[in-house]
Assembly symmetry: C2
């Protein structure tokens, strides 16, 4: 997605540990027009997959996932990063966040997924794939099926990309970064 790549080149900042900071338009301040275009891209690619639910992880996944769910006209479920006191029958998963260097508990109500569900998982970033693997484990428990994976920014040189492709999932990455060498962002 050309526009997204240009915004990453013009406004992205590379921090230590291959962290790409894009808080001008995706992770903190959000560009709603860009989110609509992102939703359209995911919609066009996954519209024939009979998606019944879009899933994401709070918080930065919500905006692109919401615009995708709005186009597909299906509900969005956002997985939480802590167990709210008001959950009845939660699914849990512990995942390690390399960015935050800490373990995070992913959590969602079991009743929002069932074996009839065809899930499109959308997230803002793919790096080592820890969040994806956690979500995959939770979805498996409900016997729902992952029919697509949409990543806004895919640091494809890290482990997550290969994992998702190796499992045979249909992955669409809107900005696929092949390297950060010498502080220069290269797209695939």
């Amino acid at each position: 997605m050309k526009l997204l790549e240009e915004m990453i080149l013009n406004q992205g900042v590379i921090l230590e540990g291959n962290v790409l900071k894009v808080d001008n338009f995706l992770n903190h301040q959000i560009d709603p027009g860009l989110m609509e275009k992102i939703g359209n891209e995911f919609y066009e690619y996954f519209k024939d997959k009979s998606v019944t639910k879009v899933l994401t992880v709070e918080s930065s996944g919500i905006a692109p996932a919401l615009m995708t769910a709005a186009k597909l006209q299906v509900p969005l479920v956002f997985i939480k990063k802590s167990k709210p006191s008001t959950m009845n029958d939660p699914l849990f998963c512990e995942v390690y966040s390399y960015t935050k260097q800490t373990t995070v508990t992913l959590c969602m109500e079991r009743r929002f997924l069932n074996q009839e569900d065809r899930i499109l998982f959308i997230d803002d970033f793919l790096a080592n794939g820890q969040a994806f693997m956690g979500v995959e484990k939770m979805i498996k428990e409900t016997k729902a099926q992952i029919v697509g994976v949409g990543m806004v920014i895919d640091k494809a040189f890290q482990k997550g990309h290969a994992y998702i492709v190796d499992q045979g999932y249909d992955l669409l990455s809107l900005a696929k970064i092949s390297s950060f060498e010498d502080g220069v962002i290269e797209f695939d």
Copy 2:
């Protein structure tokens, strides 16, 4: 907003401590069609206020705030509930969450607001107004101006509603709950 009131009556669950659980369509699973209608309502009410930025607090505020920002064609900034390691010059505020019975640190990059900004603050719930007061304090530090406050669900019998009205802010609440007496939800 009739549709929202009906969804609250049909799907909302009242928990201990006047907590209203609406995780079927707002706080965990999100109904994107409802969010579009919510965005339209806020847009129609605030469109002549020359809003330059929509502000909300992660995570449940993001969906209604994004749809509002998309209609207004202005950026959305979501305030974080912890300090990410990648923030440069953050504004902080400690607020008490009655629902979670704990203190939460609100945090945002200072550079996203300046004295020219005209802020529309959108949130999913108004109860005791602690989050609003924290955000108000942070906004004051930047000398930006709050020109409107939009709440999806306003538990108007708690302290937040009176506080916002008393300060003279222009408040639109899409579902204004006057009481929860005997487990029956009454709207104003």
